[in-house]
Amino acid sequence: MGIFDYFKSKNEPSSASVAKERLQIIVAHERGKRQQPDYLPQMQKEIIEVIRKYVNIGSDDVQIQLENIEDCSVLELNVTLPD
């Protein structure tokens, strides 16, 4: 770093720290997906079909997630019903 560099603005975060932050988010997301059991996508499909018998929803309106907290597995089902 020479004296000329001191005149440049220094407020933005370094590109390396941006890279690290983006990586941490995407890697955590992808790891979460990897740990899901194989039956989850099929189960999600079937749940959507059951709900569709009663309410008209799109395939993106049901979010399903399995979380492991210590010895306990929590299956979280999030359904967005149309207005």
Binding site: G2, F4, S14, A19, V27, R31
Partner: protein, 269 residues
């Protein structure tokens, strides 16, 4: 019984073959009978990096298909004792590597060698899966760059779920991070992910850091594994990594920017 080491990364062009050649040579230099296998069917290149491209007669697939014996296909390295190379086939048949075939070759090599280094192709297709399937140890080659780090994490997931050790509920594969093409100056400027950043994200033990070095291209031009260039930082860093792999403790080197003189600092650059 030989130890089977896979050199893998997911992403291409990060230095798998360079690292396989260097680490295989390093193990042999330390007195361990070593064979390096090129798993990149259709895109053979380990032979060029090792400088034995004109001595290839039979290849890995010939051995699997029973068209040649192992001793006919193995190329003994001319510079380094205890070292041989099993070249990949140039066939375009993607399914040429059967799991049973690979297992049989590895079993046979295992009787006569201490280390089998499997140079994986890029990607997560069959060739890459075969290269890692039987591994005891994985060296995950990563560049301090977003796509490489993400692909490395993906490969770690495959090592932990689709390898023989994972499928058979054995002790998991021993994972090591090898950070290559590292540029201390750019790290210091905040332009490149540092060692600690990549360690943080991938959360596996660090085997070594290989600095970006002109010696790597020079070595590949000449068909000599870079570890034999004991004048170069990259060669010395690979030597350190091999000793760590063998259980020795070695401090990290070449992570600092060389100190500049007063005038150079004042004027920048």
């Amino acid at each position: 019984m030989a130890k089977i080491i896979v050199v893998t990364s997911g992403k291409g062009g990060v230095g798998k073959t360079t690292s396989s050649a260097a680490i295989g040579t390093g193990l042999a230099l330390n007195g361990h009978k070593t064979v390096i296998i090129d798993f990149d069917v259709g895109l053979r290149n380990l032979d060029l990096i090792m400088g034995c491209e004109r001595r290839v007669v039979y290849d890995f697939v010939n051995v699997i298909n029973g068209e040649a014996s192992l001793s006919q296909a193995l190329i003994k390295d001319k510079r380094t004792k205890n070292l041989s190379i099993l070249p990949a086939s140039q066939t375009r048949d993607k399914d040429a590597l059967s799991q049973e075939g690979v297992q049989k070759v590895l079993n046979d090599l295992s009787k006569t060698h201490d280390y089998i280094v499997c140079d994986s192709p890029a990607g997560i297709e069959r060739g890459a899966q075969m290269a890692l399937y039987f591994a005891d140890v994985a060296i995950v080659v990563t560049n301090p760059e977003v796509s490489s780090v993400r692909d490395s994490d993906r490969i770690l997931g495959i090592l932990q779920s689709k390898s023989r050790r994972a499928e058979q509920g054995m002790e998991p594969i021993e994972e090591h991070l090898l950070l290559t093409r590292y540029h201390p100056g750019r790290v210091e400027q905040g332009e490149m992910l540092g060692v600690a950043d990549v360690e943080d994200i991938l959360a596996i033990p660090l085997l070594g850091v290989i600095p970006e070095s002109e010696a790597v291209l020079k070595a590949s031009n000449q068909g000599t594994p870079v570890i034999l260039d004991t004048e170069s930082e990259a060669g010395l860093a690979y030597d350190d990594a091999v000793h760590r792999l063998l259980g020795e403790e070695r401090p990290l080197r070449f992570l600092e920017v060389p100190k500049k003189g007063f005038f150079k600092r004042l004027l920048g650059g």
